[in-house]
C-alpha cells in the first residue's frame, strides 16, 4: 500500500544538461551585469517607504540615469493616449467594498518550452479570479489540452525529449485565506507612489530584474493584469508607462478575440527584453481598462473578458482557511521566498 504514497527516488540532473543549464544561467547573469543591472550586494532590505519629497526627487533622477544612452524619449502620441486613459481609468467604479470581490475573467495562451528552446507547446487557459478586499479569494484555471505549436516544434520536442508528455487539460481551484492572495509584485497599494517617476523606480526595486525601459513596460503589465490595484494606482501606472522611452502608439488594434482597442507597444531593440520581441498592451478606449495583451518572441496573447465587482464567491472552500500565509502575504513569483502559502485546497471541477 505504501508504494503509491512514496515518491520516486531522486534522479540525477543529467550531467551534460546540468553543464549546459549552468552555462546558460551564468551567461544570463553576466549579461545582466554587463548591462549595468543591479547585482547582488550587501544585506540591504528593500523598503518601499519612498514618500519624502527628497527621496522622490532622488529616485526620479536615478530612473533617468539608468536609461540606456540613445534610447530617446517617450513617444508623444503614445504618452498623450496613456495620459488620456489615466483620466478615464481613475473614474472607474471597480472598487469592491468589504464583503465583495473583484472578479476578473480572461483567456490566454502562453507558450512553454519544456524540453528545449525550439520545443514550443501551447494551451489555452481560461482564468477566473475573485479577489476579496481582505486579500482572500479564489483562482480557477481551466486549461485546454496542451499542443505543439507547429510541426517544427513537435519535431524539436521529440528530438529534445522523446518522453515528453502532453497534458490533456483540466480545472484547478486554488483558495486563499485573507491576506494570502496577491497577484502583483505587491498588493500594498498605499506603499506605491502616485508620482510616475518614483513609481517606475519602485517597480524596478520590487522586480529585481534588468532596469531597462523594456522591463519597465513589463512591470506595468505585471501590476495591471489580474490585480485589484485601485483606480488611482492604475492611473499612476498609465502615467508611468507614458514616460518609458521606446513605447509606440499602435492606434486601434484588434485583440485575439477581434475586439478593437487602443494598442501601446514596446518593440524591443534589446537586450532586455530580447531584441526583436514585442509586447502590446491593449486598452478599452471607453473605460480605459486593460482589455488585452499580445506579443511576439515568443508569441502569446490574453484577452480580459470581464472585470467587475461581485458579491460572492462561486462556492465555499473545501476546508476552513486561516492566515498566516507568509511574510506580507505577497504571492507573486520570487518577490518573497515562499511568499504565498496557499491557504486552501485544489479541488476538482464540478
Amino acid at each position: 500500500m505504501s508504494d503509491r504514497l512514496t515518491p520516486t527516488p531522486d534522479r540525477e540532473f543529467p550531467q551534460s544538461r546540468l553543464k549546459q543549464r549552468k552555462e546558460q544561467l551564468l551567461s544570463q547573469i553576466q549579461a545582466e551585469q554587463r548591462h549595468g543591472l543591479r547585482r547582488p550586494h550587501g544585506r540591504r532590505r528593500l523598503t518601499l517607504a519612498v514618500g519624502a519629497a527628497a527621496a522622490a526627487a532622488a529616485a526620479a533622477v536615478t530612473v533617468v540615469a539608468l536609461l540606456p544612452a540613445g534610447s530617446g524619449g517617450p513617444s508623444p502620441a503614445a504618452a498623450a493616449v496613456l495620459n488620456r486613459l489615466a483620466r478615464l481609468i481613475v473614474a472607474q467604479p471597480l472598487t469592491p467594498q468589504p464583503g465583495q470581490y473583484l472578479y476578473i475573467e480572461s483567456r490566454n495562451e502562453y507558450p512553454t518550452f519544456a524540453g528545449g528552446t525550439a520545443c514550443e507547446t501551447v494551451a489555452v487557459d481560461r482564468r477566473q479570479i475573485w479577489i476579496g478586499t481582505d486579500g482572500s479569494g479564489l483562482i480557477r484555471d481551466t486549461t485546454g489540452p496542451q499542443q505543439y505549436s507547429s510541426p517544427a516544434a513537435e519535431a524539436a520536442c521529440l528530438q529534445a525529449d522523446s518522453q515528453l508528455h502532453l497534458r490533456s487539460g483540466g480545472t484547478s481551484n486554488d483558495w486563499f485565506a485573507p491576506q494570502c492572495l496577491a497577484l502583483a509584485p505587491t498588493n500594498n497599494w498605499d506603499s506605491l507612489s502616485r508620482d510616475p517617476h518614483v513609481l517606475l523606480q519602485q517597480m524596478r526595486q520590487l522586480d529585481g530584474g534588468p532596469p531597462t525601459p523594456g522591463e519597465d513596460f513589463v512591470h506595468i503589465g505585471d501590476f495591471l493584469r489580474e490585480t485589484d490595484a485601485p483606480p488611482a494606482v492604475r492611473a499612476a501606472l498609465y502615467r508611468a508607462a507614458a514616460l518609458i522611452p521606446g513605447i509606440e502608439l499602435l492606434g486601434t488594434v484588434r485583440d485575439h478575440n477581434g475586439r478593437p482597442g487602443l494598442g501601446i507597444a514596446y518593440p524591443s531593440r534589446g537586450p532586455y527584453p530580447r531584441k526583436g520581441s514585442s509586447s502590446e498592451l491593449i486598452f478599452d478606449p471607453k473605460t480605459g481598462e486593460l482589455s488585452g495583451e499580445q506579443g511576439t518572441g515568443p508569441t502569446y496573447w490574453a484577452v480580459y473578458l470581464s472585470q467587475k465587482v461581485v458579491n460572492q464567491l462561486p462556492g465555499a472552500p473545501p476546508a476552513p482557511l486561516k492566515p498566516p500565509c507568509a511574510k506580507g502575504g505577497a504571492g507573486y513569483g520570487h518577490q518573497v521566498p515562499g511568499g504565498s502559502v496557499m491557504n486552501g485546497a485544489p479541488v476538482t471541477s464540478p
Binding site: 540532473f13 544585506r43 502562453y110 497534458r167 527584453p273
Partner: protein, 195 residues
C-alpha cells in the same frame, strides 16, 4: 563562503552553488509536476530568480537552501508566468543540443517515474495546498521542520501540525481510493499537473 561571494556578485561562486543544489531543486520540481523536462526549466527559473533576490534577502549559508525551496515553491505555483519571464531571459541564449543522449538509457525509468508521480499527485490533490507544500518539502525533499518553516515563511509549529494532518489525510485518501481506482486517480492527477 560561497553564498557570501555570490551575494557580492561573484558569478562563478553562484555557478558552484547551482551545481551543488540544482539536483535537489530539480527533483523537488519534478515531484510537484510529474514532468522531468518541465522540472529542468523550473530549476533554471528558480536559480535566476534566486540570483536576482540575493541583494534583497538577508542570506546566510544555512538559509540558502530554504530560500531556494521557497522560490521553487512559488515558481511551481506560478509556473506559467515564471516560465514566460524565464524564457524571455533564457531564449536570448540558445541552449545547444548535446550529442550525448542523456536520457536514452533511462527513458523507461523516467517514464515510470512520471506515471507514478502523476498518481501520487492525484492523491495529493485532495489535500489543502498548505499541507501539500509541507509534505513535499519535509517528506519528499527531507527538509527539516526549521528549513521548511523558513522556506514557507511560517512558524515551525505550523509545519508540524500541517505535516501531521497532511500525513493522516493522505493515508485516508489512499485507503478510500482503493486498489482498483488507478484510472480515476490518473484523471485527477492530470488536473493537478495542469494547474
Amino acid at each position: 563562503m560561497l553564498w557570501d561571494r555570490a551575494r557580492d556578485g561573484d558569478v562563478a561562486a553562484f555557478g558552484v552553488l547551482f551545481e551543488r543544489h540544482a539536483g535537489q531543486i530539480y527533483n523537488y520540481c519534478f515531484r510537484r509536476t510529474a514532468d522531468w523536462a518541465l522540472a529542468e526549466d523550473l530549476t533554471s527559473a528558480t536559480f535566476l530568480l534566486a540570483w536576482r533576490s540575493l541583494g534583497r534577502e538577508p542570506l546566510e549559508a544555512e538559509s540558502a537552501l530554504p530560500l531556494l525551496y521557497g522560490i521553487a515553491t512559488n515558481v511551481v505555483r506560478n509556473r506559467r508566468r515564471s516560465l514566460k519571464r524565464g524564457q524571455n531571459a533564457f531564449r536570448r541564449l540558445p541552449l545547444p543540443r548535446v550529442e550525448e543522449p542523456d536520457f536514452a538509457e533511462e527513458t523507461a525509468t523516467r517514464l515510470d517515474d512520471q506515471v507514478a508521480t502523476r498518481q501520487l499527485l492525484g492523491l495529493f490533490a485532495g489535500l489543502p495546498g498548505r499541507e501539500q507544500d509541507v509534505l513535499a518539502l519535509c517528506e519528499w525533499s527531507s527538509l527539516s521542520y526549521e528549513d521548511a518553516a523558513a522556506a514557507l515563511g511560517i512558524p515551525i509549529g505550523t509545519v508540524r501540525s500541517r505535516l501531521a494532518r497532511g500525513r493522516r489525510r493522505l493515508r485516508e485518501l489512499h485507503m478510500a481510493s482503493g486498489p482498483g481506482e488507478d484510472s480515476k486517480i490518473n484523471a485527477r492527477s492530470i488536473e493537478v499537473n495542469d494547474q
